[in-house]
Symmetry: C3
Subunit: 206 residues, 3 copies
């Protein structure tokens, strides 16, 4: 149990940093200034959780905790330094995709747990888990005036949705929050990694 | 009375489906994938109500009820099937404009009632009623990276505003929520239909 | 004390009108219709405060008060009249930049006070103060499908951030809300004016 809590704790930190790096690098590429880069990094890392907390009618945890914001700012700083040294945005490199998948997994699970405790419906759990996982990236795309990439291209939000469904089914069967969380984390992470390796896409109709 | 409740109930369902169809068809046209189409359909149908509930400090009803989401998903499915068969997006056809007007009318009225019960000001009632009616379409336009069409082109949100004002005046005079709701629904629907038939527009200044 | 409350009261009104004028003029230039111009003006004036109130879990004050909305509508009307007479959008003219700086100062201070009373962290105070100051402009840029100018160009949000930090430090040292508010207002206004005069910018990295 304690080991699991620890693992989850570090997964969250990895996710915060990875998401902030991704967001800041997007902002650098678009020519935003230092403030824009910082806001994009912070919003990518914390935006999903903020929207989720607002939806379950709580003051966002990101406003109350010092640590979440600190890790996000560390990610912003890392992005600037890494960009200066490598002159590359690391997009589609495993060094960013794997930590990002860890973050997606941790955030989705956090969202599913909070949604479950807020006593909402099956669909509500899926929506809140997915918003927690992908909401930050979606908001940062919107801030850059782009159609959010999660809606268009990748097998990314789908991992969150599958993870949330497996969370819900597991908790219905076992009633155990720990087992359900492990199942959710593992399924999001594993499906995301397979989706990266095999370049999965959802169908389009137009 | 019971007949009225029934009528309103079915108007809401028609609206959910019509809004979801409109949103999903927009997403198909823009080349989004299955997830994007689903999100756009759901957000168009439920987004206005979600924002309204957040603003009056409640957990969004759409997260707690199974039925709203189910009707929205039915609309998404309908849009995909209809697009496959007809290869048209039905825009500006009466078969979508009339159910859409019914939805606008039902959603605006719901928003006005909830706003009135939340004990807010005259302007607050207008804002919440209008957000409930047009917020979903506005969000889905933003997700597609477009200037929301309600701000630019059509005599659409104006119907909600007029309906909310008539709701507010009627309840001030009669104090009766049922009469005010009927007046609001009827005025939104009738003005919207006339606006479609006569192709009304608001003035521009540039 | 009473003089200070009065000064702050009038600063807020000047800010509401100036922000609404700015937002409406942007909408006129983009060819929005009367509704779009009104929504842009209102959102620029009230949007930051609405998002802040939602984040601290309160029904937005703008929905409950009649006066805020009235001043915003006055700003919308002024913008339309001024544009008709002068055929200019007044951008980068002192006649709009100075009232705008007064508004930024008043809104930032209001945000910092509310955030402080909501008992949130150092970062939370900065975020809420800054959102209150620049959130409305950011939302109105998003509604126009643009990358928000505060993220890209100007030394604008930075004034709010510096003001919020000085607020937080002052209240830690003195424990006095009045002194902290005066320090915050003055620093935002003075830094913004200097930034305008010397055309300050933040560094970029791309």
């Amino acid at each position: 149990m304690e080991l699991l809590t620890d693992v989850f704790f570090y997964m969250n930190i990895i996710g915060l940093i990875a998401f902030a790096v991704t967001g800041s690098l997007k902002a650098i590429k678009e020519g935003l200034d230092l403030l824009g880069i910082t806001v994009l990094g912070i919003m990518t890392a914390l935006g999903g959780g903020i929207v989720r907390d607002i939806m379950v009618n709580q003051i966002p945890n990101a406003l109350k905790s010092l640590s979440d914001m600190s890790f996000a700012l560390l990610g912003v700083w890392l992005a600037i330094v890494v960009y200066k040294i490598t002159k590359t945005d690391l997009q589609n490199r495993y060094i960013i995709l794997i930590p990002d998948a860890i973050g997606l997994s941790a955030f989705t699970t956090t969202g599913a747990i909070i949604a479950y405790n807020a006593n909402i419906s099956f669909f509500g759990v899926i929506i809140l888990a997915t918003i927690t996982g992908v909401g930050g990236g979606l908001i940062s795309d919107l801030l850059l005036g782009k159609v959010p990439s999660v809606l268009r291209d990748d097998f990314y939000a789908s991992c969150s949705i599958i993870g949330a469904i497996s969370f819900y089914i597991t908790i219905l069967i076992t009633g155990d929050l720990t087992i359900s969380s492990v199942i959710c984390s593992l399924s999001v992470f594993m499906i995301r990694v397979v989706a990266i390796l095999y370049n999965w896409h959802l169908p389009k109709f137009s």
